[in-house]
Amino acid sequence: MSKIFSKVPDTDWYKPRLAGTMFCVIGAFSLLLVRLFFLQVIEGEEYRRLSENNCIRLQSIKAPRGLIFDAKQRLLVDNRPAFNLTIVPKDARPVEKTIGRLSAYTQIPEEAFYKKLKGSRRRGAYKPVVLKPDISRDLLAVVEAHKFDLPGIAIEILPKRHYLYRYAAHLIGYLGEISAAELKSGQYPESQGGDSVGKFGIEKSGEGELRGKSGGRQVEVNARGQVVRVLKTVDAVPGCNIHMTIDHRLQVTAESLLAEQVGAVVAADAETGNILAMANSPTFDQNAFVTGMSHKDWNTLITDPYRPMENKVIQGEYPPASTYKIVTAIAGLEEGVIDENTTFFCPGYYRYGDRTFRCWRRSGHGSVNVAGALTVSCDVFFYQVGQRLGVDRLARYARACGLGKRTGIRLGHEGDGLIPTAAWKKKRVGVPWQRGETLSIAIGQGYNLATPLQMVMLTAAVANGGTLYRPHIIKKIVSAGGDIVLEAKPEAIGRLPASPETLRIVKKGLWQVVNGSRGTARLAKVDGVRISGKTGTAQVVSRKKNEDKQRKNVSRHLKPHAWFVAYGEKNGEQIAVTVIVEHGEHGSSAAAPIARDLIRAYFMADEEEHHAE
């Protein structure tokens, strides 16, 4: 230790080295001084000139957003050029005079311009300010004609979103100006304030792929702000094109079938989980968002009691009602509390403890087995199955069937649904589970909630032999250069907890719903297509007490929601469809015909195309 500080013979070893080091330091700083001399004296005049004109400027080139196609290469969303009238205040000297002239030429009051100018007067007087976005061609011609009278005024051309059809608004979504919160979140590293980003639907969830990469230009401008020379250009990289799984024609059919009603329709390919159509009613106009929506219009949209901005397929959570009997039947058969031939007698009601649970049909269904109970939707039969299963066992099956949890579709705001258990009730409601409540649960009422998307995936799984798929809405993503970035493959996320034998029995029941003489949905029959399904009528009265007070049309809102889940098969192709009509009263009359027409349209369209070929 002490050796360190002792005087070893070579105590001055560092002295010559320090001299060398100092020499290096002086050399390095001399280099800097020479560079300073070079910049400030030899080239000083040139740099002074450049700085006085401030003539090196950066202009950004916005990347065109990716296009959106349907499954059959039909263009759904496009870009169109938009012309923005801009001013660079420092070039437009004197600004008052220029704006006065601009106002005279365009017949737009000066105040409108000043308002825009004031709103954006902060830093960087050389940054263009948009005076009027998206001007008409006539106005453009006027401004161009007087260009030399208007220093500092320029036309900026930007690609703007254009939605070709007023369909699939909830699925495709729309663009809007990036919010302060979104900017801060760091999820949009390439965007700046004022940029448009996807706000809803695929425009939002596919933002990363659709956005592309902005480029830029370094230009030299003259004193009037006109570009003299382009020094360097970095081209923008256009966003990727998205090919969706939906079929535009089927989508149009679905939306027209739903018109004038409040509800949702979703159709999926049962063999892949691809969404073929997703319709909501009422809907909204996406192009209204592109041109900028007034506060009033926005308020009407979001306060509308029929919730046009809600994607009811994924966000709407409804009691699944009798469609849930599919789950109860599976659970009962698998757990062995019933078999194919177990019959219960339905006199129209079921006594449990001191309560009486009614069947929807007052006169009763007589003796029914499980397939028959599905066919006639006998409540009494399923009360007894539910009672034998208990709530927790039933819940386990429901979750395994994909209910009560998100499907993982690539859209925001997906609802979870709700599958109650005894533990859940104790925790959430604070009261122990009443055994009688299990009876309501068994027929899909009570606390049960499901989204139409969960029901359609469940239906598809029944149809395809038990595979639960993740619902896909994107078929493939193709870069602007033509490379396939992503090609969606069917993604199994689970299997129904049902043996082939169980599925056979359930399918038999569902087949009779449409085709049997006692079936509840005989309306849904289509020639040449094997259709099976299940109706549902969801009671809303008890659930919506508070909401109803605020509503005008109370009597309508007391009516139950109408469900119909179905699958159709023809030539080995299978389509699963779920329809919900809010307050449509009966699944059989309000929802089943919509599903029927959609299935028919799907297979007919196929036929037409085959003929065309």
Binding site: M1, S2, K3, I4, F5, S6, D10, W13, Y14, K15, R17, L18, T21, M22, V25, I26, A28, F29, L31, L32, L33, R35, L36, F37, L39, Q40, V41, E43, G44, E45, E46, Y47, R48, L50, S51, E52, N54, I56, L58, K90, R122, R123, G124, A125, Y126, G186, P189, G215, G216, R217, Q218, L231, K232, V234
Partner: protein, 405 residues
């Protein structure tokens, strides 16, 4: 004052001879004696380095004036906040500096591994629960203040290398085998910092370590080998550097590559400096600055603002001021009587040198744009604090140049 002490000082040393620690004495006794010396030795005040303090104060004054001008273009509220915060940082910096010279620097030799361990631990914490900012994790939030452990790591590496080399210095230089431990000691924090990612700071650490190592002398054969290895490492580096890091290096090699990113900054910075010409545009009159053409004009590009407004006269004055500071630091190393103090002084001086040289070279378009602030002038607490600590260490060594135990 003369840069090199000669005869007079040597005689003085001879007088001080009785208080030298001789070999064989127990370390504990030695340290307590040293502390007692620190407290009462009047020569400490006599030998206080007023010149170094003056240089520091001058640079701080320049920094405040330039910062005032640099932020003048922005919104006035923000401007006041930045300006006020900078005052606070200088205050904190001076306190840290004082703390760094009141005790004998030889304690640092003993604490070297402790400081190093703490620095590495904090770097690990940064990677695990650091605060995100601008795409990287560099800060540790400690209540209201954020700490940048990579700054502590710089000083820790200097101290630990000074300890390692000071025990082994010899005339003929170090062999490759002896260079392995210091290499590992440097590489460990380097890797942690580059992972944050913070290429600029990582590079500075390596440059400092390299400078110290070259200073303590390497055997010629080893040196040739190391140069060869460095070239190979640069090739290897191109494999695992982040894209934007490569981009920055490529931008330097070929400014036309990314005209709208870093290349644009360099062009605007050159216009700002060049347009200052000889006499400058005057305080607060820099057009490049006031029009927000310069990016980060109050941090990394603050020299451009200064050169534009103060012209060649001001810019070369500041450049020379930095050169004087660095020569001063080397002179302190020259006059130090023990190996640890000499190497320590060279290390901290190397740190100030590289930061100043890289920053100046960068804004003048001589070097790639790596985020390195200009010592004592750029806005920012971590940088000021670190440089002040370095100056405190230099003062420490300087004022004890004749108090050899």
């Amino acid at each position: 004052m003369s840069l090199f002490y000669t005869g007079f000082q040597k005689r003085l040393l001879a007088h001080a001879a009785p208080c030298f620690v001789r070999s064989g004495q127990a370390p504990q006794i030695f340290f307590s004696a040293a502390v007692a010396n620190t407290m009462f030795d009047r020569r400490l005040i006599q030998y206080f380095d007023w010149g170094l303090l003056l240089l520091t104060l001058l640079l701080c004054a320049v920094g405040l004036m330039t910062l005032y001008s640099a932020v003048a273009a922005g919104e006035s509220a923000l401007q006041k906040v930045l300006y006020f915060k900078q005052w606070v940082w200088y205050g904190v910096g001076f306190a840290a500096m004082t703390m760094c010279f009141v005790f004998d620097y030889k304690h640092m030799d003993r604490m070297a591994y402790g400081i190093y361990g703490l620095a590495v631990l904090l770097l690990g914490c940064v990677l695990l629960f650091g605060k995100l900012g601008g795409g990287s994790r560099r800060w540790l939030a400690l209540g209201p203040v954020s700490l940048q452990p990579s700054e502590l790591a710089k000083i820790a590496v200097i101290i630990i290398l000074a300890r390692y080399y000071s025990r082994r210095v010899k005339g003929e230089g170090f062999s490759l085998r002896e260079l392995v431990p210091p290499f590992l000691l440097t590489a460990f924090p380097f890797v942690l910092i580059v992972r944050q990612p913070d290429l600029g700071t990582g590079l500075i650490i390596f440059l400092i370590a390299g400078t110290i190592t070259l200073f303590v002398k390497i055997k010629r054969r080893s040196l040739v080998f190391l140069v060869f290895m460095t070239i190979a490492a640069i090739f290897a580096g191109s494999f695992f550097l982040k894209d934007y890091q490569k981009q920055r290096i490529m931008t330097f090699l070929n400014p036309d590559r990314d005209p709208l990113g870093a290349g644009y900054h360099i062009i605007q910075s050159k216009i700002a400096i060049g347009s200052g010409m000889i006499t400058g545009k005057g305080l607060l009159k820099g057009t490049q600055n006031t029009l927000s053409f310069l990016p980060e004009q109050h941090t990394d590009f603050i020299f451009s603002v200064l050169a534009e407004e103060w012209g060649g006269i001001g810019a070369s004055f500041i450049t020379l001021l930095f050169m004087t500071l660095i020569i001063w630091g080397l002179n302190i190393a020259y006059n130090c009587r023990d190996h640890f103090g000499t190497i320590l002084s060279v290390g901290v001086t190397a740190m100030i040198f590289w930061q100043a040289f890289i920053n100046l070279g960068m804004v003048m378009g001589l070097m790639p744009v790596v985020g390195v602030p200009l010592p004592l002038i750029s806005y920012g607490g971590s940088s000021i604090l670190t440089i002040m600590v370095c100056i405190g260490i230099l003062m420490n060594v300087s004022m004890r140049r004749f108090v050899v135990e």
